[in-house]
Amino acid sequence: MKHSHYDAIIIGAGMSGLAAGIRLAHFGRKVCILERHNAPGGLNSFYSFAGRKYDVGLHAMTNYVPPGVKGTPLGKLLRQLRIERDEFALCPQKQSRIAFGPRGERTLRFTNDFAVLDAEVAAKFPTQTDGWRKLVELVRTYDDVSLDAQPVSAREVVGRHLTDPLLIDMIFCPVMYYGSAQERDMEFGQFVIMFKALFLEGFARPLDGVRVIIRVLLDKYRSAGGERRMQCGVTRIIEEQGRAARLVLDDGTELTADHVISSIGVAETLALCRSGFTPDTPGINPDLHNIGQLSFIETITVFNRQPAEWGWGEDTIVFFNDSDRFDYARARGQVDVRSGVICLPNNFAYGDGRLPEGIFRVTCLANYDLWARLPEEQYQADKKRWFAEATRSARRFLPPVDDAVLAQAQLATDMFTPRTIKKFTGHFNGAIYGAPRKIRNGRTHLSNLYLCGTDQGFLGIVGAMLSGISMANYHVLQGSGRG
């Protein structure tokens, strides 16, 4: 028979929840992870469809550093979770590009060697070089993991160092696309986390994708003695005397725990706390209005050719924008195809291995409300239409290939919309990056309920795992928790 009382319960088997679980189980806590979905991974998961394996969410793992580089988030997380570096089987990217202008005529190339981007900026924006270097120095020395930092506008800080709006937009584009929950600006600490993760560190991927990382985490968790219940969502958190006293599961079962760590988002967690609360109820709790507005669509096209055959063999990730200014905001229409991200997972340095098929992914900003309530037939038709629009827009930033050639090589397609994100992650508004205002110390109005993951605010999958680790350490293992 399963226990109904735990030292700690973790809501959500994503990267942060699994990492928190490993820490707690390793140090002998009786811990259970509850996951509503039938697959682990959360925002970064994988699925099979028509006999093919797909990754969803993750384009590349950020924060990659080569072996021997210490003191960065990747090294910290490997140590904290007792994972050998080789277990993640990370293969570094080839190169990535930021491409602006109607045909991508203004570009900045970057690789896992920061000197490449630095030289690109110096060559293409010579008047900005001094400010750029000062900004980089500030980023390098900024304490971005402080749990009590005051929010500062990144636009404001970057604007003190750089004056060319094109360069500013080009730097913000990847940083925002890979983690900003806020429209048009972001908190400077968040900017620093992403700048380091993308530019000072870099991109990598296991040949078999995100499932490799999830499998390592699951194995660690299991062997440390952690319990996991799948298809087991929490429907309510019952409060008593300022504590999360009981958790009610979807099937009506009740569980109790000394500590509860929730990775499902701040508003999503608070909505569980008292019955009758919905995210639309105005004025009751400001945290319920701390809800992200930014959602995305992503297209995946599978080809029977390697992208390199079309001259698409160099770029791992391309961040593109065709307009005068880069507008990172909720799409006014269903999808905003003016900017986006291309990912070619074939283009990592896999050594002797290679992906058997060509994969071309395109991500663009989208509007949740305009997708949420469509009748099924309309929904399918709109998916098809925007699939074509998004891929057409993205292809402007790659070497040209004839439509007929691509069509002939195409084996399969798939696509997610804001509606898919809401369905599988539970995030209100299909907001992948969660709430605009992060809760760095993870505290909630209940003394033994803490947040980890996206809404705690360490970004990227390495950030997510460090978030789970930090919250487990800070609130449970170090005993500073008030529970």
């Binding site: 002998g28 210490k70 090294g75 490997l78 904290q80 350490n473």
Partner: protein, 84 residues
């Protein structure tokens, strides 16, 4: 339990926490932090592994005693002796 035994147990713990560090030439009387790349998270783990593996409690006020291998041995050996 001698001080040398104790040092060995501490090194075992560090090698599990930080397998990417070279521990073959640690100087016992120099601060661990000055010869290895260990941060506060790592030191917390040394304390927690001592508790998990050997049932030894190190209160937060005594964390400073774990600065070098020599001071670890000085501080921990009596605790190990008391245990056995």
């Amino acid at each position: 339990m001698t001080k040398d035994d104790c040092k060995k147990l501490v090194i075992d713990i560090i090698s599990d926490i930080a397998p990417d560090e070279d521990l073959s030439a640690i100087k016992p009387d120099i601060r661990l932090r000055d010869q290895l790349q260990l941060d506060s998270m790592d030191f917390l783990d040394i304390v927690m592994e001592l508790r998990k593996r050997h049932g030894i409690e190190v209160p937060e006020t005594d964390y400073g005693q774990l600065a070098s291998l020599e001071s670890c041995a000085e501080y921990l050996t009596p605790k190990f002796v008391q245990k056995s």
